[in-house]
Symmetry: C2
Subunit: 137 residues, 2 copies
DNA sequence: CTTGACCCTGTAGCTGCTACAGGCTGCATA
DNA sequence: TATGCAGCCTGTAGCAGCTACAGGGTCAAG
């Protein structure tokens, strides 16, 4: 399978596949006589692992560790659990932050009744006059 | 006020302030005889506006538009409302995505009972064997 | 024999900062 | 007066994680 087909079946971008190879996340595949990359099932499945991990928000370095564990089934999986658990709590924290943010945005927008920018509550709220007494306390 | 003090009172980083000036978000301040930047109240308040907008997750380009409106109080504030409303829906979408992600992470982690990586459900779930029948459907 | 789709390498760009290197200025202290 | 140190200056490079070229080779169909 050439790179274009691998891209199609995994949903990854061709440039991204080459990028992953460059940073050592994917192994260098064999090359055809014309110097084209040639992939097999192992490559496909490894790339799927990477894409899925990335979709879940793991960083490249976390993916590297998870791949490493996946390559060494005799090791203890506690490390995988730690990585995933830490990531989960980061996701939860991010959700909480975004919820605070959403509420403040909604509050600001709710006050806009149209008209001139000079009287606009959205603009005003972004300045430091009408802003949110004690929010950082 | 010199750049260090402006940084202190606004909570922004010195490098960031110079960066904002470079990209035209903040106007070039006067310089002292020694070529030091010299800021006044207008600069402070503009920087506070920028920081607050950035804290709310607006992009630099969105901040530029909002600043522009703030500089022209005679314009219609509908644009500010549109920018903020669009941003709000992006935030809401991001929250929804992260919640899906959190649930899947929690599900994956919940299945790990320790032991060897070869038997680890976390590792397994990241591959494409046990993964997600029809999730992308 | 040409067209067009595909592949190659290498490099630069994106966002929003942050971190130097290498050099001035200004003020306090010995 | 010398010296040290904090603070300022410019310019450039780095971060994550791709993405987008430019400029070229390869291959099958018509």
């Amino acid at each position: 399978m050439k790179i274009g087909e691998l891209a199609r079946v995994t949903g990854a971008n061709i440039e991204t596949i080459r990028y992953y190879e460059r940073i050592g996340l994917l192994p260098e595949p064999h090359r055809t006589a014309a110097n084209y990359r040639s992939y097999g099932e192992a490559h496909r499945s490894r790339l799927a692992f990477v894409r899925h991990s990335r979709d879940l928000g793991f960083t490249i370095e976390e993916v590297r560790s998870l791949l490493d564990l996946s390559d060494h089934p005799e090791r203890d999986c506690g490390e995988a659990d730690r990585i995933a658990t830490r990531h989960l709590s980061q996701v939860e924290e991010k959700i909480a932050q975004l919820q605070v943010l959403r509420d403040e945005l909604a509050r600001i927008i709710g006050r806009c009744r149209g008209g001139l920018a000079g009287d606009c509550r959205v603009i005003e709220a972004l300045g430091d006059h009408g802003y949110c007494e004690g929010r950082h306390a």
